[in-house]
């Protein structure tokens, strides 16, 4: 894995060293790109298969429900904790700055809610779900892959993507939507309390909905759906690519967190830009 550089024999011609160095540099830059490329290819393949089986295949709703409950159960406390602490931090920070520079805190509530709906609510929830549920999926499917259960599934006539990933995909979307709503609510309430306790802003001033437009809500739901689709696909693809015993499972879970987070950020960027250009003018 970490290749140690081979000792160069003394007879090496002087001209070879810069070439070797250049080669090493290209390798250092190229290798992550190649790795990223192969991961992206895996994800694209799994995504396409998911699409096909979503439309075509049998939908095992009981399995979807079971996965939903599992995902929700695992992440709800975590998400609430993170949402609350983030809400407190953000409102405290913004409040301090607003006090210092503008001196007026009446807009704190509505502006905070806007930002929460558009950005922090769905994205932070998604990052936490990717951490908790995404690693879970990658670990599960990864250990099935290294113990040949995926092969046994194929031998029994089930397609691994259809049987394992598609139910988690549907469950992921539903769970993300619910969790995003919960997280936004918790963050908002935490912010409300912080504003009152730290700055004396009355809850009525804080709880103003005057700035919220439909575009904000649509963007939030759009992001939550996109993340809910992306996380099971990326985590599942990482799990299926595991090989080599417990080391392979560890590697798959690691890759899954990073890939899920990057994909979430990427989707966030795209959807934020989309929101800026079309939804929120």
């Amino acid at each position: 894995m970490n290749a140690t550089p081979a000792t160069t024999p003394r007879r090496i011609a002087l001209g070879r060293r810069p070439v070797a160095a250049l080669g090493a540099l290209c390798g250092a830059v190229g290798q992550p790109l190649v790795l990223a490329g192969s991961v992206a290819a895996d994800i694209a393949r799994v995504a396409t298969l998911c699409g096909i089986y979503l439309i075509r295949g049998p939908r095992r709703w009981r399995e979807v429900l079971y996965q939903c409950l599992r995902m929700g159960n695992h992440s709800v406390v975590f998400v609430i904790w993170v949402a609350a602490s983030l809400g407190m931090t953000l409102v405290y920070q913004s409040g301090l700055q607003a006090q210092r520079i503008i001196g007026d805190l009446s807009l704190l509530g509505p502006l905070y809610l806007q930002l929460l709906l558009r950005e922090f609510g769905p994205t932070i929830t998604a990052l936490m779900v990717a951490t908790r549920v995404g690693t879970g999926i990658a670990a599960e499917i990864g250990s099935m892959q290294v113990t040949e259960q995926i092969d046994a599934l194929r031998m029994s006539g089930a397609h691994p993507v259809a049987y394992l990933i598609v139910p988690r995909l549907l469950a992921g979307v539903l769970t993300m939507l619910c969790l995003t709503c919960v997280s936004v609510l918790v963050s908002w309430v935490a912010g409300l309390i912080t504003a009152q306790v730290a700055f004396g802003v009355s809850p009525y001033t804080f709880a103003s909905l005057s700035f919220i437009i439909y575009g904000d809500l649509i963007l939030m739901l759009l992001k939550a759906t996109a993340y809910g689709l992306a996380i099971p696909i990326v985590a599942g693809a990482s799990g299926l690519a595991a090989h080599g015993g417990s080391e392979g499972v560890g590697w798959a879970t690691t890759q899954s967190v990073v890939a899920c987070s990057l994909v979430v950020l990427f989707l966030d960027f795209i959807l934020s830009g989309f929101g800026y250009l079309f939804l929120l003018r």
Binding site: S85, T131, S143, V249, V258, L265
Partner: protein, 267 residues
């Protein structure tokens, strides 16, 4: 498909039992992390660790996570500018774009997201490595050779993570601002010079240093949690997967907790 058979509790007792079990797990993790923190603290003064391992870990932790952190930082910068751009539009204050985006990025978003990414990449990998070593009895082998696993394995990784986290946030901040500048020019139509000017005018050095303090703190948290969960693995391949999961979650929880504490304690 049937889940595991339920334990033989009466129905009304089951949620209590589940909550209790969860509570015990959390307690055992917290206690384990506390114990490891104490062991690390003792070995910090005077510092004793293997220098070669330290260098190797600095390389693995820093250099290898570099590209991912850069990409994260670029996205963070771009997203923050888009969000700030929405407000700037509402109030027509283009001159404040740099301040709005830069301030939040340096103080909050950049250290947080880079720490989360670092936790997911380096923390998880570390837990997986240590976990596999535990499962294949390499930790026991070290002990049998009279080598303290904490000296040899944990300390170099810990120091490397704290150091590299701080460094990566510094570089990440710069990258985020550059990414933000490009987004502001290309997507929002606000000239880069205006963007940088408002950055220089309104964002203070202390905003930047707060971010770096946070980064170091996050590095400590990630180092301790990932090492603890790695060394506490049991149960083969499945156990390693679970440990990575728990480690990443514990790391994230610590990050958010510390984020709040540092913000509160250093206004």
């Amino acid at each position: 498909m049937r889940p595991r058979p339920a334990p033989p509790h009466p129905l009304w007792l089951r949620p209590v039992a589940a909550a209790g079990e969860r509570g015990l797990q959390v307690w055992s993790a917290t206690a384990g992390v506390g114990r490891l923190s104490w062991q690390i603290l003792r070995r910090l003064l005077p510092p004793r660790m293997d220098a070669r391992e330290l260098l190797r870990n600095l390389y693995t932790v820093g250099v290898k996570s570099f590209p991912i952190i850069l990409v994260t930082a670029l996205f963070v910068g771009a997203i923050m500018v888009i969000q700030a751009g929405l407000y700037v539009q509402q109030y027509g204050a283009e001159g404040l774009l740099g301040w709005g985006a830069g301030f939040a990025t340096l103080r909050e978003v950049s250290p947080l997201l880079i720490a989360l990414m670092f936790n997911g990449r380096v923390g998880a990998k570390n837990t997986a490595e240590l976990g596999t070593m535990k499962v294949t009895e390499q930790i026991d082998a070290l002990r049998a050779l009279a080598i303290d696993p904490i000296d040899y394995l944990v300390m170099p990784r810990f120091i490397a993570m704290v150091f590299m986290m701080s460094l990566l946030v510094v570089v990440g901040d710069a990258t985020a601002l550059i990414g933000g500048a490009f987004t502001s020019q290309l997507l929002l139509g606000v000239d880069m010079r205006i963007f940088f000017q408002s950055l220089i005018d309104y964002v203070a050095l202390e905003d930047f240093t707060l971010g770096v303090y946070k980064a170091a703190t996050f590095g400590v948290a990630i180092g301790i949690t990932s090492c603890h969960f790695g060394l506490a693995v049991s149960g083969g391949a499945v156990g390693v997967g679970k440990a990575v999961n728990n480690a990443v979650v514990a790391g994230a929880i610590s990050i958010f907790l510390l984020n709040y504490l540092v913000t509160y304690l250093i206004p």
